[in-house]
């Protein structure tokens, strides 16, 4: 409307001028502004030129014309632009307009001109333009039907490609949308936004149609006139009806299009639709529904990805390493569902920027605070309550988001049988994130996380653990092709156990991990076919492997401390995503990692070829602080490739090698809060892993159904298993308690996802095996005689169905069905009578299995009305966990009670658990 209005103003503002005979003119403009351009033309031609300055401020004209009429000059100047001119010869007037053309002649065809016939344009000698020294302003695009001009406008459209970059943001909150897909219509070109919503896309100059799909956002299109490299921010509208779909991926075609294999992206809306045990959406539990992910049981914090151990997962919350991602024996994940934006799980193609863990990277991303308005939400559940508040500090520039959760679970524990009645468990966690836009090219993000758990399991022994994390990220755009992200952070995890029931033995055992991180990541869009990622990272570790102190004045406990461990893990990486052809692309990267084990430390040397026992210690060397005791280096290779056979069928393959320098030592089945972390040292080698995988990806029914088959084979070296009867707590020579093992894992994963429609969800089936082998004779003890034995989490068959059916916009039902083979356990092979009771004799490890696991969960989501502008939005989640009440075995075991051996089964959730959760958003 505005433009038409302006056109008419111009039209009526026309000053009448004397007619004058047109004459030929010569001009030579180099990057001329509109003032220079019109001034010279007015002087030379005698015409008056009218235009709206605001519309032309970004135009730069480079043109050399010799002895041609004014009309020809104008025609060449505005050729291929959205600028138009109208020349009224009789009045010696020229009107310049943008987008709208003032026709000086009747419409084409009026005089029988054939359609398609155009005025031939006189050839001109155009001098090649140069990039404008002044950058074009960032274009904020919100409207679909508008043609946005990107880059310094030129009258001549240069051949070749240019790059567009910018942020995809939510129109409502102004927050960047990560993982949004941008595609050029009718071509195979597409990119995904990074964690901040930033993208760079290289495309042919000229008019292009961009299709933008963001998770939880309405699909959008942008018409772009690309002149040159430039910035284009795209604001997307929130999908108001939030019931619509479970989205696995931001991008419906990413399944077949991206080179990544085995990457699962889930947004919080999908996560929230899956029934959770106490009704609160659980980020970690949903990970267990993904193909290739297993856990040893229900009350565990750990998960196992493709046959990897639980400590081989790097769990990142906005680049902060979370060592214990669970609360309350693993029944709640450490991530506040109201703050989380989404998760990504990399289990095969691990980008070269990540390292330090063998199996997977789970990236949990928090939302950015709303940059436009204050908003918040609160949730009340049976055991926990949540509150989150967010809003602008400086509108459109600085925003914060705060989330907090606390528990009140003791009432539930009091309902338990006597043996658990005197237990206590509580936790809280807080997130506070601030994001600030300094200018167009600089953003700063501060993110923090704090959690604390405290529990007592019907005894006087109290357990505490706490995560403390903070980091600052600075994102800087050098230009539209190169940007950097610098991250500095601290991650801490502390845990302690204390008891003061017996004053003589009252003790407190403390453990801790402190790591200080520095990381720079650069992304460089070299050209349309190559995107380079490179950077370096360094982590300085300081571990407290155990300190015992008396916990009362009368305690006789002798203070004992295992020496602090120090280490520096650093890495350099370079990767290239190379699109060889639109149908064939390769991502290849190398990560060169180095680990230095640092003093002060005392290191024992063992007689070569003999078991590591106190008897075989040859020497013990004390190193002073800061001294490099041992250095390990490892080039890690990350390669993946994708070939499209057809538009909706592709083949992918990947090969990855990884190194891990920090180990979790545990001899319990589940990760327990008192497990020990250990750095690699001269006696404990780093774990090395390699994985090859191959996959076929097929989309059907207009990309609404995604299917895939993936196979993998994995090999792990130097995985640490414990010796029989190992004592890990407060061990001053832990290398004497552990064994180096080799692991191998292989499997096939079948997956079908339906991402849209009233019924959506996914079905996964995985066949996988994981074996460990301990055949190093110097270990002194061979587990299972040195043969391969199944790992604790080896569950060959695993099936999962997760579905959501939207009855109306206000009601939806979700069903989750899980089946898996029972995990392996060690059962006794004989019994005997000794020491006053029947005892059992154990032999080979993990020879038997607990019964198969089956569970189904059901929930109904009830939403209040969907009026967009009301103050409060309510929703209820009501459901039942373990609908069939199946008493799934956590473990089966023989136990001596009252002198006799009997077999028992322990179940965690032995009956249906109903839940209700109320959420309010404001």
């Amino acid at each position: 409307m505005k433009k038409i209005y302006f056109t008419f103003i111009l039209f009526f503002a026309v000053k009448l001028l004397h007619a004058q005979v047109s004459k030929n003119i010569s001009v030579n403009f180099q990057q001329a502004t509109i003032e220079q351009f019109t001034g010279e033309l007015e002087t030379k031609s005698g015409y008056h030129i009218y235009y709206d300055h605001a519309q032309f401020d970004s135009l730069k004209i480079t043109l050399q014309v010799n002895n041609q009429p004014l009309e020809s000059v104008l025609s060449q100047a505005f050729h291929n632009t959205t600028y138009h001119y109208a020349l009224f010869e009789s009045k010696m007037q020229v009107f310049l307009t943008r987008d709208k053309e003032i026709r000086t002649q009747p419409a084409a065809g009026y005089f029988n001109v054939k359609p398609g016939q155009t005025q031939p344009v006189a050839p001109s000698q155009v001098i090649d333009f140069t990039t404008a020294p002044v950058k074009a302003p960032v274009i904020e695009s919100t409207i679909e039907n508008k043609l946005y001009e990107v880059g310094i406008k030129t009258n001549q459209l240069k051949a070749g490609k240019a790059s567009v970059s910018g942020y995809v943001k939510s129109a409502k909150s102004g927050v960047g949308i990560a993982g949004a897909g941008l595609y050029v219509a009718n071509s195979g070109v597409g990119v995904t936004t990074d964690q901040f919503g930033y993208y760079t896309l290289s495309l042919p100059r000229g008019k292009q149609l961009l299709i933008v799909k963001g998770v939880g956002m309405k699909d959008a299109r942008r018409q772009v006139m690309l002149y040159n490299d430039g910035d284009l921010n795209i604001e997307l509208q929130d999908q108001v009806t939030t019931l619509k779909e479970v989205k696995i991926s931001a991008d419906k075609v990413a399944n077949v299009r991206s080179t990544e294999m085995a990457v699962s992206r889930l947004d919080i809306k999908s996560i929230k639709q899956v029934p959770a045990v106490f009704g609160e959406a659980d980020v970690l539990r949903i990970v267990l529904t993904l193909p290739g992910v297993q856990s040893v049981g229900e009350a565990t914090t750990g998960f196992n990805v493709r046959g990897g151990a639980a400590d081989q997962n790097l769990i990142l919350l906005d680049d902060k390493t979370i060592y214990n991602p669970a609360h309350f024996f693993g029944f709640f994940s450490a991530f506040n569902p109201d703050i989380v934006k989404g998760i990504e799980l990399y289990k095969s193609t691990i980008p070269e920027k990540f390292g330090g863990r063998l199996s997977s990277v789970l990236e949990v991303t928090d939302r950015e605070g709303n940059k436009k308005n204050f908003a918040g939400s609160a949730g009340i559940g049976l055991l926990t309550s949540r509150l989150n508040v967010e809003g602008p500090i400086v509108k459109d520039k600085t925003s914060f988001i705060f989330g907090g959760r606390t528990s009140y679970s003791d009432w539930l524990l009091k309902l338990l049988p006597e043996e658990y009645k005197h237990s206590h468990a509580s936790f809280y966690d807080f997130n506070l994130d601030i994001s600030h836009q300094i200018d167009k090219d600089n953003n700063i993000y501060l993110t923090t996380y704090l959690s604390k758990d405290n529990f007592r399991l019907n005894s006087d022994t109290t357990y505490n653990y706490s995560n403390k994390n903070a980091n600052i990220k600075w994102k800087h755009n050098f230009n539209s092709r190169l940007y950097s992200l610098i991250t500095v952070g601290y991650d801490g995890y502390k845990y302690d156990i204390s008891s003061s029931a017996n004053p003589v033995n009252a003790y407190k055992l403390k453990f801790g991990i402190n790591q200080t991180n520095f990381k720079t990541d650069f992304t460089y869009y070299l050209n349309r076919n190559n995107t380079l990622d490179f950077g370096l990272s360094a982590i300085y570790y300081k571990l407290n492997p155990g300190t015992e102190t008396p916990n009362s004045a009368s305690s006789l406990i002798v203070p004992d401390k295992v020496d602090d461990e120090q280490g520096l893990e650093s890495a350099l990486y370079l990767g290239d995503k190379f699109d060889v052809t639109p149908d064939f692309s390769i991502s290849a990267g190398i990560r060169y990692s180095m680990f230095n084990y640092l003093g002060a430390q005392t290191v024992r040397t063992y007689a070569p070829g003999l078991p590591r026992t106190p008897l075989n210690v040859l020497d013990s060397t004390a190193y002073s602080g800061g001294k490099v005791i041992k250095t390990y280096t490892r080039p890690e290779i990350r390669v993946s490739a994708r070939y499209n056979i057809t538009d909706d069928l592709s083949l992918k393959a990947s090969y990855n090698t990884l190194a891990q320098y920090i180990h979790l030592l545990s001899n319990t089945t589940a990760i327990s809060p008192i497990d020990i972390y250990k750095l690699s040292d001269p006696n404990i080698k780093p774990q090395y892993g390699s994985q090859v995988s191959f996959g076929v990806f097929k989309n059907a029914a207009q990309n609404t159904i995604e299917t895939s088959v993936e196979v993998y084979y994995k090999h792990i070296d130097n995985y640490l298993d414990y010796k029989s009867g190992a004592k890990l707590v407060l061990s001053h020579a832990i290398e004497q308690e552990v064994l180096n093992t080799q692991g191998k894992a292989y499997g096939v994963e079948l997956s079908i996802k339906k991402t849209t429609g009233k019924l959506n969800g996914w079905i996964n089936y995985t066949y996988s095996r994981t074996f460990l082998k301990q055949d190093d004779p110097t270990a002194g003890q061979l587990i299972n005689g040195g043969a391969y034995y199944p790992a604790n989490y080896d569950k060959p068959h695993s099936f999962n169905f997760t579905g959501n059916y939207r009855i109306t916009h206000r009601y939806s039902v979700s069903l989750d069905v899980t089946y898996s083979t029972g995990r392996p356990i060690t059962l006794p092979i004989a019994k005997y009578y000794s020491n006053g009771a029947e005892r059992v004799f154990y032999s080979d490890r993990n020879e038997y299995r607990i019964p198969d696991y089956f569970r189904s969960d059901f929930s109904i989501n009830i939403y209040g009305n969907h009026k967009v502008h009301q103050k409060f939005h309510n929703s209820w989640t009501v459901g039942v966990y373990n609908l069939t009440g199946r008493q799934n075995a956590y473990s089966t075991f023989y136990q001596q009670q009252g002198g006799a051996i009997n077999s028992y089964q322990l179940s965690i959730f032995a009956r249906p658990i109903p839940f209700i959760n109320y959420n309010i958003r404001f």
């Binding site: 006597e418 009867g725 005997y832 000794s834 005892r839 179940s907």
Partner: protein, 375 residues
Amino acid sequence: MTCKKPITLAPVATNSSYLVVDGSINSGDSSLITLSHTVNIAGNARSNPELGASVSIEGSGGDKYTLSSKGNGNYVSAPLNLSSSQKYRLNITTGDGKQYVSDFVPVKNSPPVDSVNYAIVSNGLQINANTHDATNNSRYYRWDYVITYQVRSAFESKLIVINGDTSAFRTPAQQIYNCWLNDTSANIALGSSAKLASDVISKQEISLIKSNSELLRIGLSILVKQHVLTSDAFNYFELLKKNSEQVGGVFDAQPSELTGNIHCLTNPTEPVIGYIIAGGVSTKRLFVDNKSLPATWLPDLSYYNGCALITELYDYIPPGAPAGFIEHQVKEYIYTGIETPIDTVLNPKLGVIATKPYCGDCTLRGTNKKPSFWK
């Protein structure tokens, strides 16, 4: 929510028959070594005794003491005074000719038990021991115990059957109302002062008796026996305890192979179960009277479920019986021992009140002789 229930596991079919050596080399007392073989876990047999073995204790100085077989796999030595300057080991030759030998173990004599006392905790009676070693040399301890407790029949029998044809009043020595039973430790009690500044064991739990246990109905006397271990022996018994008593829970360690200090010389790869220790034991006794326990603790007397008094007559005429038919119920039920007589009865006719033997005769469970240590 969490639930532990008994189940039947598919039996693990093995034919293993490994030698199990139980017992210790005692100083100042006789040593009892029990030899058996492992049995199938699903079987009913508790153990398979090794009957034909020859067993001897050998000192590092060369002295040798042979143990004599007392049947049922038990082999007993004469009381020995072990020398602290020597180490001792056990030699075994089983009936099938296989030779076994333990490692030489040092003699660890236990310091006296300072005290045994009890604490009333929420779910029962906790028996605690306290000890110390002024020389700081003991450090690792193990306790076992024998609890003697009094039981009482559901009904007091005043009559005794004599020669199966008459009854008389019981003398005090013939009473079967109060009996004493023994209960031995099934759980392994271990304690260590290794982390402490001095060798002190305080309030070490020896046993936890549930508040509704029949052991607490009248009173009990517990004899605590204290052994001192080497750290290796301590680790063995700790693992044995974990493997058999602390398994299956969420944070419990996984069961693991257990290697003792006895080896098969004939077949070195054959597992042998057991850990031989040597030394002197110290003991302490504690008496706990039910009167000092909370009145709310009610014993579980389900043993006496189904107990009732029955009147048996000398001449019982069943309804509708042919003329002259008389049933001599006392003879039929009581003199035969099917029922235990309680007392005589006159109403409606002369007879005897009786009950089932398990309800009236506690000697079916224990001894009716009051132990000498009983208060």
